[in-house]
């Protein structure tokens, strides 16, 4: 299934917006980008590697050659691309449960958006607006974003420990090692394949 590469799912969605609502979304996305604490829930959920929203206004679809017919559209379009961990249902359940206000503020300007709560019509809308990935590559397929962050913490801790314990007596070394263990003990989960998507 080309949407999934081991632990990561490539979701693509497109929703139409009446042109005079587009600037509202731009403002919300700008605020979200500029005010970091607003992103804290997203960071806490910790299952997205990279995600982006891309607004294409109706006249801005790329026109790469003279002979290419020009688009004549009434709506502006909001594209959404996410690289997330977990199953499709799990992802949307989590967003609906804890991030509904934020989601609503971005998507309510899209035509016929039903709201992110309750969750079933929300899932139906996403299924309507989602289009499938044809090719998906990730440099670290066995690692979820949690794994990546844990790995970086272990790397830093190891570097610090290496420096700190150099030239110590065995007893002092063993004590430092214990401190090191306590520092990394939450971050040692093995990486690997993900459970099957549902």
């Amino acid at each position: 299934m080309a949407n999934i590469n081991y632990k990561t799912y490539a979701m693509n969605a497109i929703t139409p917006m009446k042109w005079w609502k587009t600037w509202i979304v731009r403002v919300f996305l700008f605020i979200l980008g500029a005010i970091k604490p607003l992103q804290k829930d997203l960071v806490q959920l910790s299952f997205i590697h990279f995600a982006r929203w891309v607004i294409i206004t109706r006249s801005k679809f790329p026109h790469a050659a003279q002979q290419q017919p020009k688009e004549e559209l009434k709506y502006d379009y909001l594209l959404f691309f996410s690289n997330f961990n977990g199953t499709w249902n799990q992802y949307i359940d989590a967003f609906s449960a804890v991030l509904s206000r934020g989601l609503n503020s971005i998507w309510r300007w899209s035509e016929k958006f039903p709201g992110s709560v309750p969750v079933t019509p929300f899932k139906q809308y996403i299924a309507r607006c989602q289009f499938d990935t044809d090719y998906y590559y990730t440099a670290y397929p066995y690692a979820a974003t949690n794994d990546v962050k844990a790995a970086h913490r272990v790397q830093s801790a190891l570097e610090a420990f290496e420096k700190e314990s150099a030239g110590k007596s065995p007893e002092e070394f063993a004590r430092s090692y214990l401190t090191f263990l306590v520092a990394v003990q939450r971050d040692l989960g093995e990486t690997g394949k993900a459970p099957i998507g549902t």
């Binding site: 249902n89 449960a97 979820a144 214990l178 939450r186 690997g192 993900a194």
Partner: protein, 461 residues
Amino acid sequence: MSKLDATDIQGFVLRGYGLPFARYMFLEIADAHSGQVFIGRLLDQVTTGEHWDAGKPEWTLNIAFTHKGLVNLKLPDASLLSFPVEFLQGMKARGEILSDAGENGSEKWDAVWRDGRVDIWLAVNSKTKETLDVVCADLQRLMGETGGAKVVDSQDAGAFFIDGHWSAKEHFGYTDGFGNPDFLGVERDTQPGQGKLIADGTWAPLATGELLLGYADEAGELPVAPIPHLLASNGTFMVYRKLHQNVATFRRYLEENGKLYSGGKEKLASKFIGRWRDGTPVELSPDAPNQEIVKDKQRNVNFTFGNDLEGWCCPIGAHVRRMNPRDAFGFNGRLINRRRITRRGLPYGPYVPEDQPVRDDGEHGIIFMALNASLFRQFEFVQQQWLEYGNDARLGNEKDMLMGDHEGRDRYTIQGTEDPKNPPFVCGGLPNFVELRGGDYFFLPSMTALRMIAAGTVDPR
């Protein structure tokens, strides 16, 4: 919300009976008509959720159906097709989702499950073995009389009788039976810690629709349910799993690692599950078991992990923490509330005291049953994402230590501190302590629905 009509709901759904003996009979339906007659004759004996004014009955009876069972009873197609997909497929077909592979794969199951022969689960619980035998013999006679069904397999289970009284222990020596959730409208001895966390730090019952069909669930929706309403309402879904326990391997593993772990063997055992073997929650008493806490209903399930995000008291991958993370994922527990299950079950096989020899291939295990309104969203999710995987707990691919399918190579990390009695410790080379020997998904109808099924009057619209 309106009060639940407990007499319409099967008693098994609303309460753990606490009766020491059980026999689960698995039936094959002979044909639709005589099957209906058989069920009709059973109706008066099925135990409902009605209040027991005169104390516990001598015995109880409950009934549930696989999808195949409902097909064989010739429910209308439109009703049959309206059941949730996972129930339609049955547990064996969902094996990949549940990580039921390798040692837990269906090729290794007991024949009755491997061959998918079960239509009906008929469960008798009783106070004595004699009563059990008498009741079951009567039921068999009824089957013969009506020609409606026959027993293709049966499973006995029962509590251990240790030191002169009935015990809640299971084969690995852990005291079981804590932590079933509270639901709105279900009459029960509520204990703080069973429900969901709310903003002020207290506990509230979960939405009724997390347990019963026909009621709003935690997402404010009605769970997927078959049509018509009357067929679904007050019913629920059950997963039945026969879990064989490799008691010899467990005891050896605990003994050998207990020598290496400076907190000692019992403390190590407590770190596997998150409770000492006597039932004391590790989160409330990390250094020693404490029977006072165990006996105190206000305390024995009343804890959170918010002050133990490092895992120093209760390891992050411990069983109770995996099954109910409470506030460990933040957001005031909102990611947890739709993932709770209600457990029933009893150990099977003879109890072997710790100082007696025991074999892995002995009949020792636990009959695990979980009740939930949505198998997909509740049991299957917990099994797939929290038991056989660890990403939500930030543990990568680490699995539940006792229940996971380890293939001899996984490790379990116990977080510790610099205190020599509570060190970090890695349990490596994990074998499979528990093996799945079979099971399936069942639908437990309400009394009304049972009457409709017996009378053949299920009408989709």
